[in-house]
Amino acid sequence: MKALFATAFAIGLLIAAPARTMAHEIPNAIVVQSFLKPDGQTLTFLVRVPLSAIRDVDVPQRGPGYLDLSRADDALRTGAIVWIAREVALYEEGRRLADPRLVAARASLPSDRSFQSYETARAHFADPRLPDDIDLYWEQGLLDIWLEYGIQSDQSRLAINPGLRPLAQRVTIGLQLLFPDGRERAFQLHDDPGLVQLDPRWHQAAADFVRSGFNHILDGIDHLLFLLCLVIPIRRMRTLIAVITSFTVAHSVTLIASAYDLAPGALWFPPLVETLIATSIVYMALENIVGARVVRRWVITFAFGLVHGFGFSFALRDTLQFAGSHLLTALLSFNVGVELGQLLVLVIVVPALNLMFRYVVAERMGTIILSALVAHTAWHWMTDRGAQLLQFPWPAFDLLFVLSLVRWAMVMLALAAAVWVGRLLVRSLRQGAKPRAEAEV
């Protein structure tokens, strides 16, 4: 009797069970597509997320795991609220918005292209739902969500903290902000970016990019070693300022040029720049070892600064989206951050070198030892990066290649002429200043 009851109970449970729980592994990587559009006092947020990322929600299935669309609506709405609406934090002028209203949630095919624009995405919610009998394996479906938030004004500055990190091991969020005046701004966020100002004020952008530049120079061991090589033989403030200024001006030129898409876009260009950066360190270290004259170091530093600027631009490429409408401010701020980082390094390194050369090792010997260590490291970087560069086939030596060479030669010549004119000016200023200095003595 007991067995009969247990069997009946089990059968009853099976019949009553509305769905299989979607308990499964966290996906390795997902892409979330989204649009934000403020309009009057409503902020519309459209989100598309792979169903495979929606976990622990009972979604009806049939057959080998096909989505049972005839019974899926409640589960889709629950997934939308639990995993998206409650996780995404939106801010208006620094104030977190109240929970949104879920307008709609629907399943789509992985091939659906509606989320290519805001208009088609929004219109997609009015499209007929997928037929109930479609064989769509549930993990391969997409969940489209329409949320609405109440806002004070569509002119307010917005910020977002996506909070979607739990959805997958790696989360990429494509976000498009549509301003009421028709402007659009695209973002690509990764994992947990924290609070992102979607329309930053100039000082917010400046502060972010100063921080970014500061961190970058301190994280970039190759830039630091280059800096070290520069200062080992030059520890007098006046010469140091000339050299550092030369480096700063040069890398600012190429960094800004890159941000405005003036740098070559070919695949071999980044490895070329990385190889040249390593070469610049080797050169500086060798120059220190052989005891070359350092009074003209600002000239070669300028040339290498141009190369390092391209290197900075690679680091900056993915973050320029956070500049809002303040691109130039952001670039200059990044340079300021780099300079502050360099100053910090100098403040620490110059006295340390002075102390070392005074108490530990003679200056000449110390210069040779330190430079040799740096040259050794940079040599390995140079050969490793050079090997990667050599993986790219050499350009065909044809007419177009020669034309390109001629144009680059013109650019280099113009730069050399500018440097030469600069030197003449500095020299004439110095000559003009000398008699006065002598008169003061």
């Binding site: 091939s111 394996y137 695949l267 350009p395 034309l403 390109s404 013109m410």
Partner: protein, 407 residues
Amino acid sequence: MARRGMLIGAIFVGVFGALAVANMTLQQVAEAQGAAGTVRAPRFEVDPFWPKPLPNHWVLGSTIGVWVDERDHVWIIHRSSATLSNMEKGAELKPPTGECCAGAPPVLEFDPNGNLVQSWGGPGQGYEWPQSNHGIFLDHKGNVWIGGNGAGDSHILKFTRNGKFLAQYGKAGVHKGPANAEGLSTYGGDSNDPQNFGRVAKIFVDPRENEAYIADGYLNKRVAVLDGDTGKMKRYWGAYGNKPDDRNPGPYDPNAPPAQQFRNPVHCADLSVDNLVYVCDRVNDRIQVFTREGKFVKEAFFAKNSLGEGSVWDVAFSRDPQQTYLFLADGRNHKVRILRRDTLEELATFGDGGRQPGLFYAVHSIAIDSKGNLYTTETYEGKRVQKFVYRGIGNVPRHRGALWPTS
């Protein structure tokens, strides 16, 4: 001092002037040459670092299928250990003869950056894995379709993206004939069989009608169209829309009148946005174009004197809304041909035989991502997948051999 400065300044101006004159002259020559020697067509640059190295000492065997899904993930299928020499698979021999290498699982998924995302494939419960897998396609529901051109492969498999078996259409080993002199089974084609296939080369699923177009194949001589959910055959046709005929047409003769039937293999059957089916009649060196219902529209021949495997292996459509261009993988001549899709006129080619990046050995399959980047796979001893980064439309030489970058 001032004189020295004047001299240096004059040298700067003089050299700059000479370079400017050289620039103008070369520009004029280039423009003149451009009118004669180049053509407006899509430009590409090979990415030698795509994909990233495989883990576990894995290597690819003959790589005979590629597709790009809606997320721009690149899927390939290859023949793994079955096509690796002992020197290549020392780690998987029993006992192992070295630390490297082993055949990777047959199905590999790469993300857009070339990282391996997952791998699966091989025999399993509930289905018959092909003796020699061939062709891979990701449909609009995210399902993976696989064909096979092994001796007894007369079926198609469908899996989820994660490799869970969903369906098998047709059975393996049908149309078996008598054993040959070596005692091996022989098989006959039956291009009018509504249930089974004859060594399927490639599958293409039309998302609008949920119909699968089957290049059928290495044994049969037809294009077959199935319902995408049930696998039920809806229609099929042969060359020129004729009823398929499995009789042996003999070897291809470039000087003979065009064959009225496909030769084996029928190697691709891809549907364009304007509902035209482009069929690779590989050995006959031709593309034949049909309506969705199988009505013949036109044909074009490429490198018509190519013998052996033939010149028309696989096609991919460009990603502009009109699919203006058609990219044709020509494994016999080791190049990719760029065609105007409306006229089937050949505009340009790139590639040549060789092992360096941008060269080919038996380029077998071709696919395109949403950004217009091309992916190719190579069979036989080619055994690799390559990425060609799209560089926009521009002037390109009509016959560009090795695909070196230009800027």
